[in-house]
């Protein structure tokens, strides 16, 4: 299917068309077109400053954009608080620096959204939170504070915090870049498991092993544009663009 075709497909949960963004006069995102199907796993890579983080941050409106359109689960992203809140409830996000709330315990970090945004009773929210903490394999840390956990544990808590909101789409913004090498695996394991369960995922990462293993599509960005997108096997073994070849040779052979 050609990505430029404007007809909406019922299966597409994210439809980005001709998205353009400027910081002041600096043109950071240029004509981004992207469609994501339900259950699709997409890895976005590219050199720093290429706009990959900015692109996924537009999807839950952590960044505004000036031109183009963005539809998430049938809701158009416009400058309206209601729409933004609806989309944010639908989209979970995991950050490079975890961004757990340091003044709340792990359990409180997880139950905050369900209690205040979804208005769930506390007991129910806590039960859900414990379920997800078990899934990320740290139920014993529930009463500690984020500062008492290792980086890998904090990132797994951050994933669990997003999952507690029961999102349809998960965004990962370089989730392993701030971690010690020994902790990357425990986070990636959780992400692989999540992918295998059919979660729609957009992941900015340089973990090419992860991309090969789970991605349905790999997108390479440079200078605010999508340079190349392909399924992982083709992408890594037979890149079509010179720029992609150069990038891959730099990150794979060191």
């Amino acid at each position: 299917m050609s990505a430029a075709k404007p007809t909406a497909d019922a299966e597409d949960v994210i439809v980005i068309e001709n998205l353009n963004k400027w910081y002041g006069n600096f043109h950071v995102l240029r004509d981004i077109n992207l469609r994501v199907k339900k259950g699709e796993r997409i890895v976005i890579c590219g050199p720093s400053g290429s706009g990959k983080s900015t692109t996924i941050r537009c999807i839950n409106r952590l960044e505004e954009f000036q031109e183009g359109s963005l539809v998430v689960d049938g809701v158009e992203m416009i400058d309206d608080v209601k729409n933004i809140e609806t989309i944010r409830k639908d989209v979970g996000m995991v950050f490079q620096h975890f961004n757990l709330f340091p003044h709340l315990t792990i359990l409180e970090n997880l139950t905050l959204g369900p209690i205040w945004v979804q208005k769930k009773p506390k007991a129910e929210a806590e039960a859900t939170a414990m379920k997800y903490l078990e899934r990320v394999k740290i139920p014993d840390q529930a009463d500690k504070y984020p500062g008492q956990l290792s980086g890998g544990q904090q990132q797994r808590v951050a994933i669990a915090r997003s999952l507690c909101m029961n999102p349809n789409i998960m965004l990962f913004d370089e989730p392993t870049s701030a971690l010690d090498p020994e902790m990357i695996k425990e986070v990636l394991d959780v992400m692989v498991e999540l992918a295998e369960e059919g979660m729609t995922m957009l992941c900015v990462t340089h973990e090419m092993g992860f991309a090969k293993k789970v991605a349905d599509r790999v997108i390479f960005m440079d200078a605010g544009q999508i340079v190349e997108e392909n399924e992982p096997n083709e992408f890594f073994n037979n890149p079509q663009n010179e720029r992609t070849k150069l990038f891959l040779s730099q990150i794979l052979n060191h």
């Binding site: 409830k89 003044h103 205040w116 945004v117 984020p146 500062g147 915090r161």
Partner: protein
């Protein structure tokens, strides 16, 4: 394959720990250092005994009038005889339980803010702090509770300093937070109003504000209304304090990483939920030392109220010093007493603040 065996930890060598090592390290590390240490010790030996002698050994403790002060030391009889006025001003003796009750309530609310079970602590203490000034005014004034009315002219002494400072900071607290939020706002009107307000009250001497409160503020009230002088001063203190605290909060806002806002946004919290649940607790935590410093400043500034004739503790002391029965020159004792009272209150507040900081410090591993 070789097994990895960690070397067991050993205690530090004896000559680097313990009091003797500390003294050698800090007091006698070099010839110059030793000389300075000895010189300072000599000065202390020379000056401390006469001071102790004046303040304690040759001081006058017993008696009720100036005639009791026969020994050459300090005349603590003066402080003792006036202690009621120093603490309570001219508040009627038979109603004094109201002030004492108020002090107990204040202490209880402070205590409750730290000792209540965690799940109700925040809610309960916020309510208690907001209700406290109203209870205080009702109790001290009396008319709402059906007690004999005590006019504010009779309020005075150190307890007035305490109440004015406490009542101001409680009301100023939410205001200053709003000013600080306003200063960060994207809306130009709100931002400029906040900046003008904050900079005005920070840039003007508090004394001139007190004069304005007592002289100019009545001009703004409707004709015929007579707003109590203490209330006018209270308003001035609230404005003054909230201007300063807004800047303290601004520093606190700057210290919260932008990732916290983004995380709160990404789980779908509304603006006010984000501010109240995520940002405010972290802002208060980092601002706490400065909030306390601002409060101590305000507390000490309440002595300036003597300029506009409000009988706070220093004003009361001056009245006592000019009393015809006590003309023997007791200023030293009197001011030392005021120093001691203020210093011990401020110092215990710093101790308390350090405790809160430790309690709020969740960054460290246990």
């Amino acid at each position: 394959m070789k097994e990895f065996e960690p070397v067991p930890a050993r205690p530090a060598p004896d000559k680097t720990v313990g009091p003797l090592a500390w003294m050698k390290e800090n007091l006698f590390s070099s010839l110059l250092n030793s000389l300075v240490t000895l010189a300072v010790m000599a000065l202390l030996v020379y000056y401390i005994p006469p001071v102790l002698d004046w303040a304690f050994f040759s001081a006058n403790w017993q008696g009720t009038s100036e005639d009791a002060c026969v020994r050459e030391g300090a005349c603590w009889v003066f402080v003792n005889a006036w202690s009621y006025q120093f603490f309570y001003g001219t508040y009627p003796v038979e109603e004094i339980w109201r002030i004492n009750l108020m002090l107990v309530l204040l202490a209880l609310v402070i205590l409750a803010s730290f000792t209540l079970p965690k799940h109700i602590r925040l809610k309960a203490s916020v309510i208690a702090w907001l209700v406290l000034p109203l209870v205080g005014i009702a109790l001290l004034d009396g008319r709402l509770l059906g007690l004999p009315v005590v006019s504010t002219d009779l309020w005075g002494g150190f307890t007035l300093n305490v109440f004015m400072a406490a009542a101001s900071i409680i009301v100023a607290f939410p205001f200053s937070f709003l000013w600080a939020l306003g200063r960060r706002s994207n809306m130009p009107f709100i931002r400029s109003v906040s900046v003008i307000f904050i900079e005005f009250f920070r840039g003007v001497p508090v004394l001139s504000l007190f004069f304005m409160g007592s002289v100019m503020l009545p001009l703004f009230f409707a004709e015929g209304t007579n707003v109590d002088k203490l209330i006018r001063v209270w308003i001035v203190l609230i404005f003054f304090m909230s201007g300063y605290m807004a800047e303290v909060f601004r520093g606190g806002f700057a210290a919260v990483p932008s990732g916290q806002y983004e995380a709160a946004d990404s789980i779908g919290l509304s603006y006010w939920q984000k501010i109240m649940l995520i940002i405010l607790p972290q802002v208060i935590k980092v601002s706490l030392p400065n909030i306390l410093a601002t409060f101590v400043m305000l507390f000490k500034n309440t002595t300036f109220l003597l300029i506009i004739g409000i009988p706070e503790v220093v004003q009361t002391l001056q009245t006592a010093l000019s009393n015809s029965y006590w003309l023997g020159g007791h200023a030293l004792e009197g001011y030392l007493f005021v120093f001691l009272v203020f210093w011990s209150s401020c110092f215990s507040m710093s101790l308390l603040a350090r405790r809160i900081e430790r309690q709020m410090n969740t960054d460290k591993r246990d």
